[in-house]
């Protein structure tokens, strides 16, 4: 049974009124299938196993506009800079790319242009299980803006691409950002995403990112989720890896947004792949931060390694659900998964659920989850050297996060995240 909300009805009529445009037949067909998948499922409720701990109903009740704001956004670059970060900056204002981007070996194209032929037919929502993911289905049906980043064959991109999403939320908005990253054979690419919002009305981001990594290619993808409180993010990332490819995914969530739900799905669609999934969530106030990941080992000799760490303050809640599927053909799989949590408040709640499903018989797999608090002996040691409570806690939280922050390959990004952790910890403690 579908729980209908006025937003649901609003989306149905929005789709019906806007689906008659002159798009490519394959795209129209995809959108129709996707919309059907959304309309039959509706928005997920806590009765859905994947959303058991994450009740989103309150976040759907706003009187959202379904079109992005149109206020011109000035001077956003300087306001959202990561100090001394040397990368190729791409600014998307409400999902629109307003300037030409010139990066050697990389093609950056707005979807509006890219969808005029059938190049993307091979990629778009090809691997996303739309029947199980109503948000991703909804995005597929409705998205208009966003970009395609495609690294050419053999292109080793010398600097990271810094994708800055800028939105204005003067009024409540519900939008569907979309990103497609294609790394062709032997290419190497780093993408760092951050978000900047003006205005304080609720902004619901129903984001979908797809990432296709061809043979022997390498992609590092960072999502820096340092949001303001009015943001509700449901983020779906689908990554498909071909043989001998390497993918590193970094998700860092810092206190701010009301709701963050990250779905990260990896299909290891070839032999000899390597994947690293690193996550850090520092949560505060009444935040709810939910990370759902799944890794599908489909071929032999692949390695996946997942480490998510959480630090929970105030009345915040976090959910970790990690699934590893080792399919029958995936012999010699190495798959590791670990989730460690530090609860710094009596009111904070973590639901952690590591899962392994193994159908092959020659594999090395491990998974684990821990929940703890400060190590009092370490805290006393620091204090006995004259370090005050606040500085001592900062040192220990940074130390706890160290396993995840020290994996950041870009020094400026690492410094930025560490500074944010210290800053948010200090604010919480004052």
């Amino acid at each position: 049974m579908i729980t209908t909300t006025s937003l649901y009805d609003q989306l149905i009529s929005f789709y019906n009124n806007n689906s008659a445009g002159d798009e490519q037949p394959w795209l129209k067909d995809l959108r129709a299938r996707a919309f059907d998948a959304f309309s039959t499922q509706g928005f997920p409720t806590t009765k859905n196993e994947d959303w058991r701990f994450t009740n989103i109903s309150a976040y759907l009740k706003e009187n959202y506009s379904l079109l992005p704001g149109s206020v011109s956004l000035q001077n956003v670059k300087s306001a959202n800079a990561i100090p001394s970060f040397d990368g190729y900056e791409i600014v998307l204002k409400n999902g629109m790319l307003n300037e030409d981007v010139n990066i050697e070996g990389v093609k950056v194209t707005p979807f509006r242009t890219a969808l005029q032929d059938d190049h993307l037919k091979l990629y778009l929502s090809k691997f996303i299980p739309l029947q199980k993911n109503p948000f991703a289905a909804l995005n597929t049906a409705l998205f208009q803006n966003g970009i395609v980043i495609e690294a050419e064959k053999n292109a080793i991109v010398d600097k990271p691409i810094h994708l800055i999403h800028v939105y204005n939320a003067e009024d409540p908005v519900f939008i569907h950002p979309r990103l497609l990253v294609i790394a062709n054979r032997n290419s190497k690419l780093q993408v760092v995403e951050s978000v900047f919002v003006t205005g304080e009305s609720p902004l619901f981001l129903n984001n979908v990112t797809e990432c296709y990594i061809a043979e022997n290619a390498q992609v590092d993808k960072y999502y820096l989720q340092a949001f303001s409180p009015n943001i509700r993010l449901v983020n779906f990332t689908q990554c498909v890896q071909s043989s001998n490819s390497l993918y590193n995914n970094y998700t860092y969530t810092i206190p701010g947004a009301n709701l963050v739900r990250n779905n990260l799905h990896l299909d290891l669609n070839g032999t000899n792949t390597e994947s690293h999934l690193y996550g850090l969530y520092l949560t505060g106030s009444n935040q709810l931060v939910d990370n759902h990941t799944s890794v599908h080992h489909l071929f032999p000799n692949c390695m996946s390694n997942e480490l998510y760490k959480g630090v929970l303050m105030d009345s915040s809640r976090a959910v970790f659900n990690g699934k590893i599927f080792v399919h029958q053909d995936a012999q010699k799989t190495n798959a590791f998964q670990q989730n460690n949590n530090m609860l710094l408040s009596n009111k904070a709640v973590i639901d952690s659920k590591p899962q392994l499903e193994i159908f092959a018989d020659d594999v090395k797999c491990s998974h684990g989850s821990t929940v703890g608090s400060f190590n009092n002996e370490a805290l006393f040691y620091l204090k006995s050297r004259g370090i005050g409570e606040k500085a001592a806690r900062n040192l220990l939280v940074n130390a706890f996060a160290f396993d995840v922050t020290n994996k950041i390959q870009i020094p400026a990004v690492r410094k930025y995240i560490e500074k944010l952790i210290t800053q948010k910890m200090s604010e919480a403690y004052d």
């Binding site: 009092n376 370490a378 204090k383 006995s384 050297r385 004259g386 500085a391 040192l395 220990l396 706890f400």
Partner: protein
């Protein structure tokens, strides 16, 4: 007087550990506290440093004429008290250098002194590493992580040198040290001794006192100091063991 402990009593959970300790320490002095296992030596160090699970149930401690027990552990350190841990903690992810710089600057801020310049800090680090013969690489290494037992103890003495406290308590610093490491640690302490600071050396064995020669030796037994003397007392204990100390207390209490 630098430290004046008057009738100090403390308990852990429901167990009375210190039952009335009296001790006076002046600047320029080295005091050794000896005693059998479980007599309360390390507890005394913990209570003075402000470890949380100890509850002071009576008595007074004056440090430089201030009420020490009123201070938080960090303020005790900032006032010039230093505890060299028996078991220094490993803290993965906190670099030695960042830790030391934070400690020094928090202590300086407490005394309204400006933050130490990087150059000056590094000079100080180099100098003191040399002074206490501690050549471990400190940059890019986590606090005590991967250090051998000896290195951890030497790191304690190095921190002592960096923080330059008025009163240092060495809690069984000799335990787990081979003779060479013991000599290096003792040399470091001897170089740091001055007429402005004082040391309380807690030890089980007199061996350490061959290298760090104390002005006074006290025997702690069953939560009290039952005997005080000079260096010769330590030698006597080495020869006779602790049993002859225990007897009078036990018979008196019957």
């Amino acid at each position: 007087m630098l430290l004046n402990i008057k009738n100090l009593q403390a308990k852990v959970e429901d167990k009375q550990i210190l039952k009335g300790v009296n001790l006076q320490v002046n600047a320029g002095e080295v005091h050794a506290i000896m005693g059998p296992n479980g007599s309360g030596k390390s507890s005394l160090a913990s209570v003075l440093a402000g470890r949380e699970n100890f509850e002071v149930t009576g008595g007074k401690v004056l440090f430089d004429d201030k009420d020490l027990l009123e201070f938080s552990p960090e303020d005790r350190a900032r006032e010039g008290l230093f505890l060299a841990f028996q078991y220094p903690v490993e803290i993965p992810g906190v670099s030695n250098i960042n830790f030391l710089r934070t400690a020094l600057n928090e202590i300086r801020a407490y005394h309204n002194q400006p933050t130490l310049e990087s150059k000056e800090f590094l000079r100080l680090t180099r100098e003191n590493q040399k002074l206490v013969e501690f050549d471990a690489k400190l940059t890019n290494r986590s606090l005590n992580e991967g250090f051998s037992g000896g290195e951890k103890k030497r790191n304690e003495i190095f921190q002592l040198a960096m923080l330059n406290p008025k009163l240092s308590i060495l809690d069984e610093t000799d335990s787990g040290l081979d003779i060479d490491a013991l000599r290096i640690v003792a040399n470091g302490v001897n170089k740091l001794r001055s007429d402005k600071n004082a040391f309380i050396v807690i030890t089980h064995y007199q061996r350490l006192l061959d290298y760090i020669v104390p002005d006074f030796v006290h025997v702690l037994y069953d939560g009290r100091i039952v005997k005080s003397g000079t260096r010769e007392l330590a030698l006597e204990l080495e020869e006779k063991g602790y049993d002859w100390i225990k007897e009078p207390v036990t018979s008196a209490s019957i």
